[in-house]
């Protein structure tokens, strides 16, 4: 994902592109591009990111509308999950003869 730092008047806005590679899968971030509006962003995304049938569906969203977590706060942000290993199935010690579980 890209961040636009300064104001660049002549530049078309920046868009993030998400592509579903086939029905049944999630849309995944593919990259970004510049376009004047949403329709052009989708058309450009088709030409830039799906020249070899990489997608069956495209999402675009203007980059300025994406909010992200702060990597410098990762430690405290994800800390609550650290000491809860009992959320994983492997935490439980069960006899080997136990099947189908």
């Amino acid at each position: 994902m890209s961040q636009q730092t300064a104001e660049h008047k002549s530049e078309w806005p920046l868009w993030e592109v998400f592509i579903r590679s086939k029905a049944g899968l999630d849309h995944k971030h593919a990259g970004s591009l510049h376009a004047a509006d949403a329709q052009m962003a989708i058309e450009n995304a088709r030409d830039v990111y799906t020249r070899r049938m990489e997608g069956v569906s495209i999402w675009v969203v203007e980059s300025k509308y994406i909010h992200t977590s702060d990597p410098d706060e990762s430690a405290s942000m994800y800390e609550p999950a650290n000491d809860k290993i009992y959320r994983h199935p492997t935490f439980y010690n069960l006899p080997d003869e136990l099947k189908h579980m």
């Binding site: 660049h8 078309w12 920046l14 990259g31 004047a36 020249r51 702060d70 990597p71």
Partner: protein, 316 residues
């Protein structure tokens, strides 16, 4: 965290091969080096369309024409992937274009050579794209995430570029005497510039050491150059053509080909802007940008108008 611990954390990630992502802390020189390398790479893709664009209307068959069009379109795409990767480092697209158009930023010198015959389309695909692939494959593991992801995409697409080039060379080599001569002539003209594509020797490459330490580069210029020569000389045998280097010789002890002295004076001369096509390439590129200005403005005005209209409808 103090600056010191930021730096330690950064180094620790590099050691563990954990990718650096756009919002992560990074040293200023790491950021600058990346912007320079990624944008140079993007500019090369964009300028690289010009020597081949020269032959689209004169391709010898509809098949060759469709293939060449697809290749040139890929190059535009590769330029765009890379520009957007560079933008994640906080530089704007306009600044990047401006650096290219003002001559401040460099692009690969190879594109400052002319494409004189159809065989040049073969030699470029085979040698120039071949050298580019050799450079780019290790970059799929480069330490900066967005650059690495762009390179994965580029490398996947680039393989057809080299294969179609070799196919052109093979067809010409198996053709008439004149066609074979044309292929040899293209090889003669593109061989040395292709070898120079890996950049100056390690001893004279000021950026290499730092770039390797930061895992931006995974191999040095000389390592990649040797690897390219070793595989390409073997491929030349299949074509029945001759590599234009009288000092080329297999070295049993090293397990590599020894090769003749590279004319670095020529390389630096082209880098400095005195190659056969430097002026023409930059002028063509600037003309395309300037003549497209009204299109960019019209699209922006149209988008603005539609936004306004949608706003009015909502208000009503």
């Amino acid at each position: 965290m103090t600056v010191h611990s930021f730096e330690e954390h950064f180094e620790e990630k590099l050691d563990k091969d954990i990718a650096i992502e756009p919002r992560d802390w990074m040293p200023d020189t790491y950021r600058k080096t990346l912007i320079r390398q990624i944008s140079q790479h993007a500019h090369s893709e964009i300028v690289g369309m010009l020597p081949e664009g020269n032959w689209i209307t004169r391709a010898p068959s509809l098949r060759r024409k469709a293939v060449l069009l697809a290749k040139v379109q890929d190059e535009a795409g590769h330029g765009l992937y890379l520009y957007s990767a560079a933008e994640t480092l906080g530089v704007s697209r306009d600044e990047l274009y401006d650096q290219l158009h003002s001559g401040k930023a460099k692009y690969s010198s190879i594109f400052n050579y002319p494409t004189l015959t159809w065989a040049d389309m073969g030699a470029i695909g085979w040698l120039v794209d071949g050298a580019a692939i050799m450079n780019q494959v290790p970059l799929c593991r480069t330490s900066y995430g967005p650059y690495a992801r762009a390179m994965v995409r580029v490398c996947k697409e680039e393989s057809f570029h080299q294969r179609q080039g070799f196919e052109i060379m093979l067809t010409l080599s198996n053709g008439t005497e004149v066609q074979k001569k044309m292929a040899q002539d293209a090889l003669n003209r593109w061989w040395w510039p292709s070898i120079m594509m890996f950049g100056p020797p390690d001893a004279e490459s000021p950026n290499t050491e730092m770039s390797v330490r930061w895992k931006i580069k995974r191999f040095t210029n000389d390592e990649l150059r040797q690897k390219f020569i070793d595989v390409t000389v073997e491929q030349t045998k299949i074509l029945g053509l001759e590599v234009p280097d009288k000092d080329l010789k297999w070295n049993e002890e090293r397990g590599h080909y020894d090769f003749g002295a590279i004319d670095w004076a020529e390389f630096w001369n082209v880098v400095k802007g005195n190659g056969p096509c430097n002026k023409e390439r930059l002028e063509t590129r600037k003309k395309a940008w300037e003549e497209g200005e009204w299109v960019r403005e019209a699209a922006a005005a149209y988008a603005e108008k539609r936004k306004k209209k949608a706003g009015e409808q909502q208000a009503a």
